[in-house]
């Protein structure tokens, strides 16, 4: 049976399948069912996270039940760092290669990062109210988190204002690169300054400062929220690319319509 090959991606896949049939078949399966598999894994992971956060993990003795919000707060913060790092990477690659796809990649990461930062700030506020008695205080971690929020909200406002222009993409890429400076400062702020925010509880190479069941619950939620981030990234990126394609086709069609007969 002869296979009809349409896109460059399909051609590449067929080429891989010729040279390494097993890898090729795996890639073809991922292309066809990957998103569904990711959706199922994310849903299962989230259910497991709810169970681990509310049932499996013990209640913390000093902070009480509000401490459990940490199983959502930490993964949200972690994934916002990942998203902002990819905004930086996408912006730098766009300036280097001038490939619109990197610009789209940076844009959707900034959007998801902003959503996650908003939820991080909100969940942190609930923890603060429950444990410290205040919704907000101006310490280094909270202030730099808010600053980070404003930077990426500004990035998206700039994108919205400039539309789909090369000039807008270049300006946003510069903001995407320079704006990232706040992210490591935000992460290290609890070590550099005295803050009310708790110190990191998991460090590479160091012994965990939590009981094993709490670490396990945190790991489950970290993996689940990372899967959610990946799923959102794929869907938002596909949407962004389709919007860019439609805008280009529409501009071409309008140009044709405006041509004198």
């Amino acid at each position: 049976m002869q296979t009809v090959i349409h896109s460059p991606g399909e051609r590449r896949l067929a080429d891989i399948q010729r040279r390494a049939p097993v890898i090729g078949a795996a890639l073809r399966w991922l292309r066809r069912y990957g998103e569904w598999a990711l959706l199922v894994l994310t849903a299962a992971g989230m259910m497991l996270t709810i169970w681990a956060s509310f049932v499996y993990a013990p209640t913390e003795l000093v902070e009480g039940p509000i401490q459990r919000i940490f199983y959502a707060h930490v993964p949200l913060a972690w994934n916002s760092y990942v998203a902002f790092f990819f905004t930086l990477a996408g912006s730098a690659l766009y300036l280097w290669r001038r490939d619109e796809r990197w610009d789209s990649f940076a844009r959707v990461n900034a959007e998801i990062g902003l959503v996650f930062t908003t939820l991080t700030l909100m969940s942190g506020s609930f923890w603060g109210r429950g444990f410290q008695g205040a919704w907000w205080w101006w310490d280094a971690r909270l202030t730099t988190s808010l600053l980070m929020w404003f930077i990426y909200a500004g990035y998206l406002a700039l994108r919205s204002y400039t539309g789909r222009t090369a000039q807008g993409a270049r300006a946003a890429a510069v903001v995407g690169i320079l704006g990232f400076i706040v992210t490591p400062i935000n992460y290290l702020s609890v070590q550099w300054w005295n803050t009310l925010h708790p110190q990191p509880i998991l460090e590479l190479g160091a012994q965990a400062k939590l009981p094993g069941s709490m670490v396990a619950a945190l790991m489950i939620s970290l993996v689940s929220f990372t899967l959610l981030y990946a799923l959102l990234l794929i869907e938002a990126y596909k949407l962004e690319r389709t919007q860019a394609l439609v805008a280009r086709l529409r501009a071409e069609a309008e140009l044709l319509e405006a041509e004198p007969e």
Binding site: I66, I69, L119, S123, F126, T242, R250, A253, L256
Partner: protein, 52 residues
């Protein structure tokens, strides 16, 4: 107090995530309608060019 705040906090996190997913879905719907409109526009242009 702690339990109430925890439940409200978690509910808001999930509402926030669902709101974002809903917004993505709405935009996807909008872009599909736009694809359809653009396809019609291009077909019309193609038809006009063929007729000329």
């Amino acid at each position: 107090m702690g339990t109430t705040l925890l439940i409200i906090g978690y509910a808001l996190i999930w509402l926030g995530l669902l709101a974002y997913v809903g917004w993505l879905a709405l935009r996807m719907r909008g872009v599909r309608a736009e694809v359809e409109a653009t396809r019609e526009l291009l077909e019309r242009r193609g038809g006009d060019a063929g007729g000329r």
